[in-house]
């Protein structure tokens, strides 16, 4: 390992600019002649738009245009789409309702844009928006996914009777039925996987600009995948052909999934910029972000697990209603299906699994992928059932897990996935030691002495990362391929630019990607720069989400580096007048095997460009190679998290007193960055378990519409985390990387709930487990005891 190569905990190259305020975000971009957009949004969850009178608004000072859904339709701007086709049990295709960028005819959630005001300044646009008169006809609102399919529930979209988008299933219902018939013990649970508001620190923003000379559009946008945004806006929305549309994602301050999707505001900024001939900027306010960023989770689930007399799991049955909100967001359909049902085997050998998912529309903002996307929900189902099952059968939860672990690989689960590598026993064992599981009974007694209740909770999770390969996702309905691209450009002086189709918004790619190049070419880290986030620089790429940048994005770079090395060897052979096959490349030096003849990396790079020694076309000048990489399988990070809590039974407060995480991420490029990802993921998972929950009231108003009511985790909510790793390399990519970006958020929520329920001795506890929720659970348990 070199000092800056794979495995080195080097400091992040990008942090200097971020912490000194030198980052360059969308809102830092200002274009000559720029004006501002303000979106007038529906204050009603469900309402017919009878009329919009914008005359007074249009006459206000500074106003350039007031545009509505009717204008958008008149200009034949296409709808936003969901790019993953899900087929129902009955063979019918999912019911995708039209999603215009500005509501036309009907508003379907609080925050649905109904008009946009473009003015010289933002205050002018806001003042004018107050003068737009919208005549609404209120309709009853539907917010609770559990009631969406009821007879008589408000119908949101004509295409979807009973608000049902699809009724999907996976697995073998008959086999599961048989397993339950012969089961010794069955554990049944009902729960809600609570709805979350992503809250990236940088709110969404867009600047649209039209250049009449070249007839081309440019969009600066807070996106995690600029090329996918361009593709959708060209092919479906029809704003401009791809070669006339440039999407630039400069520094982006966090996404967590919420910036994958194509949103109405960016479409409108581009369309309106061309219409009025001025660049238009829009930046979301935090309140707007709460109302309009795609939310996460929101599942209502009933699940049952069957055990045989030895405590082996014999069957799993899951029925989920997934809330997709008012419209189908870009990848929303895949989250509660192929990112959820396929992970229900967990780390266990479960012979029979059957999962049914109904996706429904409601009058709430769209729900789509959010850190973990489907996998935290799956992990919650499996890890809650096995924990409660163990408690009910009187078996130690660690023992029960070990008994059911998959031990040989590859392992075909009953729900599509083929796990290719793992060692679940190793991570559990290490975690038990680090968490001092043996000393738990003593610690519990100590807690009782100071009037507290102590509990421990496990989460031996698995997830599928590196979301790819293209063939597999294509067969499951994905509208795009999920490979990745890279280009390595060597300059004549030997410095290197790496172009990647991934996009960083907190992950540290500028460091980790450079580390891989630095090690391979034997050049200093500072001689490598990573270029991303501009469709005019990077030819194509699929962006960053699903913990895919390491496993897929770095693999593409490795493939391009293979080609670079091959070409550089040819150049070196010319220079050293040796046969190509005799050239050895090591530590940044080309040598002729068995001689002391050598050429340094920089000399070879220079010769590739001056080309003085290449005769004619025998060897092409230059040193630049590109590659597309499509892996052979998903990757399967897995591990064991153990959470220990102390509960104050008088107030219901839970304090996390210890956290142990042992994860298997395969090869780790930068352990410091990976540890940071684990920390952040756990914090978000703890947020879901203890603090966060989006609440719509019965009229469809978002009650938790600001940080005064929606609680995000703070540093004080977490103890010092013990983070360790085990390793089995992923066989499906050249470096053996599995991916680490979502693991914490996937593992954590259920570990917390398992811990609190252990402490309070009752399983009936919702998320978020706020002090009030814990107190109520204790009250209920008390009432039951006194009644009995």
């Amino acid at each position: 390992m070199s000092a800056t190569g794979i495995g080195a905990a080097v400091r992040r190259k990008e942090d200097q600019r971020f912490v000194t305020g030198k980052g360059h975000y969308t809102d830092d971009v200002s274009r000559p002649g720029q004006c501002h957009a303000y979106f007038l949004r529906s204050p009603h969850a469900h309402a017919k738009i009878k009329n919009i009178d914008s005359e007074a608004a249009a006459a206000m000072p500074g106003v350039l245009a007031v545009l509505t859904g009717a204008d958008l339709a008149a200009d034949k701007i296409g709808n936003l789409i969901c790019g993953w086709m899900i087929t129902s049990k009955d063979g019918s295709q999912m019911k995708m309702a039209p999603h215009p960028a500005i509501a036309h005819g009907k508003a379907n959630y609080v925050g649905d844009p109904v008009a946009v005001v473009v003015a010289e300044t933002l205050p002018q646009a806001k003042d004018a928006a107050e003068k737009v008169k919208v005549d609404y006809d209120l309709l009853p609102a539907l917010c609770d996914p559990a009631k969406a399919q009821d007879q008589g529930a408000p119908q949101i979209h004509e295409v979807a009777p009973r608000n049902t988008i699809y009724q999907w299933h996976l697995g073998d219902a008959k086999a599961v039925e048989a397993a339950f018939k012969t089961a010794r013990h069955v554990t049944k649970l009902d729960f809600i996987n609570n709805r979350l508001v992503p809250n990236a620190i940088e709110p969404r923003a867009a600047i649209g600009e039209y250049d009449a000379g070249s007839e081309s559009l440019t969009l600066w946008n807070t996106t995690q995948n600029p090329h996918v945004a361009r593709l959708v806006m060209s092919a479906f929305v029809g704003l401009a052909p791809e070669h006339k549309l440039r999407v630039i994602a400069p520094d982006v301050g966090g996404g967590f999934g919420s910036k994958i999707f194509i949103y109405p505001e960016e479409v409108v900024c581009l369309w309106a910029a061309r219409k009025i001939g001025r660049p238009i900027k829009w930046v979301a306010e935090r309140s707007e972000a709460f109302l309009t960023d795609a939310h996460g989770r929101d599942h209502v689930t009933h699940a049952e697990m069957a055990f045989d007399p030895d405590g082996k799991v014999t069957g799993l049955r899951v029925k989920t209603v997934a809330n997709l909100g008012a419209y189908m967001s870009t990848f929303s359909s895949s989250v509660p299906t192929y990112l959820y049902g396929t992970l229900l085997s967990g780390q266990y050998e479960i012979p029979a699994i059957y999962c049914e998912v109904d996706a429904v529309y409601t009058n709430t903002v769209p729900v789509d992928a959010y850190r973990g996307a489907g996998r935290p929900e799956a992990t919650f189902v499996v890890e809650r059932l096995i924990e409660v099952g163990g408690r009910q059968m009187g078996v130690d939860p660690a023992d029960l897990r070990q008994k059911n672990f998959i031990k040989t690989f590859p392992h075909q689960t009953p729900v599509i996935m083929i796990y290719d590598a793992g060692d679940y026993h190793a991570s559990l064992k290490k975690a038990l030691e680090l968490a001092d599981y043996a000393g738990l009974a003593k610690r519990k007694r100590e807690s009782v002495r100071h009037d507290k209740l102590r509990g421990i909770g496990f989460s031996t999770y698995i997830e599928a990362c590196g979301i790819a390969p293209s063939q597999a996702v294509g067969s499951l309905g994905c509208g795009v391929g999920l490979w990745e691209s890279a280009e390595v450009r060597v300059n004549p002086t030997g410095t290197v630019e790496v172009l990647t189709g991934c996009h960083q918004h907190g992950q540290g790619h500028e460091t980790t990607f450079a580390q891989v190049v630095s090690e391979r070419l034997g050049i200093p880290l500072e001689n490598v720069s990573v270029v991303h986030g501009d469709t005019d620089k990077v030819q194509f790429g699929m962006g960053t989400y699903g913990s895919r940048s390491g496993a897929v994005g770095i693999s593409a770079i490795v493939k391009a580096l293979d080609k670079i090395e091959a070409k550089a060897k040819k150049v070196a052979a010319h220079m050293l007048e040796a046969a190509e096959g005799d050239i050895v490349f090591e530590d940044g030096k080309f040598t002729v095997a068995g001689t002391d003849k050598s050429a340094a990396w920089g000399e070879v790079a220079l010769n590739a460009y001056i080309a003085h020694k290449f005769a004619g076309q025998e060897l092409e000048p230059g040193l630049k190679e590109g590659a597309f990489y499509d892996p052979t399988n998903f990757t399967f990070p897995a591990g064991c998290h153990i959470c220990e809590v102390e509960v104050d039974p008088q107030t219901g407060e839970s304090e996390i007193v210890a956290w142990t995480a042992v994860d298997d991420f395969g090869t780790v490029v930068n352990p410091m960055i990976v540890e940071g990802q684990v920390h952040g993921g756990i914090a978000q998972g703890v947020g879901q378990a203890l603090l966060e929950g989006a609440i719509y009231d019965k009229d469809g108003q978002l009650v938790t519409g600001s940080l005064m009511d929606y609680c995000m985790p703070r540093a004080q909510d977490l103890p010092a985390l013990k983070v360790e790793m085990t390793k089995t390399a992923a066989p499906s990519n050249p470096l053996g990387i599995k991916g680490c970006g979502e693991a914490g958020a996937i593992a954590a929520p259920v570990a917390v709930i398992n811990a609190i329920t252990d402490a309070i001795g009752t399983e009936d506890l919702p998320m978020p487990a706020t002090p009030q929720a814990v107190w109520r659970a204790l009250q209920k348990a008390n009432d039951r005891r006194t009644a009995a």
Binding site: S287, T651, L691, I695, M708, D709, C711, T770, W775, R776
Partner: protein
């Protein structure tokens, strides 16, 4: 935000006259309540009378057996004042639990009391210590000052200049923060000054800060947590929202009162 004109008077008299003369004028102290509502366009005063340059409105001093705190004194000044920590540590501690460091460095005692947010901390101490609010016009005893949600005895053109806190023998404040906002979901302030005992609750009441006379009576016999063991307040009359039902708040009043008495005793 809507456009507004900002004035910076140098004296209380000038501030008062601006307040009466200008239409739709509002006092600006730390701005931590007022500015967010203006940003959301929920408030749109045409004139802001900024108190930051008015002389003599800030600082803490001992006057006889009372501590006098200027209206523009920030929470962090109250928290860290040696004389406050020495004489009424419960009040210094309360100030140190308000919001976060940014809030504590900008927010003022005058702004907090004038605003009378039902979940604010200071009203509990002002009522719990039987303080006197001094304005440019008069002196108002705490018992007469708080009039329900966001309502006080202040007249439109009245400016709080000082708050006078009597020294007490024993006092403590226990706060159960709203997890999101960090305001008090429930906060209980208890004090004992010779024979006068006060138990004051903020955050929980449907009508703002209030005294719990049943607890006070029970504590007169013996000032200790055992005296109020098993006592509760009725759930009706408590506020109820997504963060805490009336029942939960009523329950917390009992728990926190016992903890506060234990801390003070």
């Amino acid at each position: 935000m809507y456009a507004f004109t900002q004035h910076r008077p140098a004296t209380v008299r000038q501030a008062a006259s601006l307040l009466t003369k200008q239409e739709e004028a509002k006092l600006l102290a730390g701005g931590h309540t007022l500015i967010p509502t203006m940003k959301l366009r929920l408030a749109g005063p045409k004139h802001l009378v900024d108190l930051s340059k008015v002389e003599g409105l800030s600082g803490i001093e001992m006057k006889g057996r009372s501590l006098v705190v200027g209206a523009m004194t920030t929470h962090v000044e109250v928290e860290t004042s040696p004389i406050m920590k020495e004489s009424i540590p419960a009040l210094a501690g309360l100030a140190g639990k308000i919001g976060d460091p940014a809030v504590r460095h900008r927010g003022t005692i005058g702004g907090s009391i004038a605003n009378n947010d039902p979940n604010a901390d200071y009203p509990a101490a002002v009522l719990g210590l039987g303080a006197t609010i001094i304005t440019n016009k008069r002196r108002i005893h705490a018992d007469e000052f708080f009039k329900g949600l966001f309502e006080t005895a202040l007249e439109d053109d009245e400016i709080i200049t000082k708050v006078q806190f009597p020294k007490v023998n024993k006092a403590a404040y226990v706060k159960f923060p709203n997890p999101a906002s960090r305001y008090a979901l429930v906060g209980v302030f208890v004090s004992k000054r010779s024979s006068e005992i006060r138990v004051v609750v903020t955050g929980a009441g449907a009508n703002g800060v209030f005294r719990v006379t049943t607890f006070e009576e029970a504590l007169k016999k013996r000032f200790g947590p055992k005296s109020i063991e098993g006592l509760t307040v009725p759930a009706d009359g408590m506020a109820s929202d997504i963060h805490g039902s009336a029942e939960y708040r009523a329950h917390l009043v009992g728990v926190l009162a016992r903890r506060a008495v234990a801390a003070a005793a």
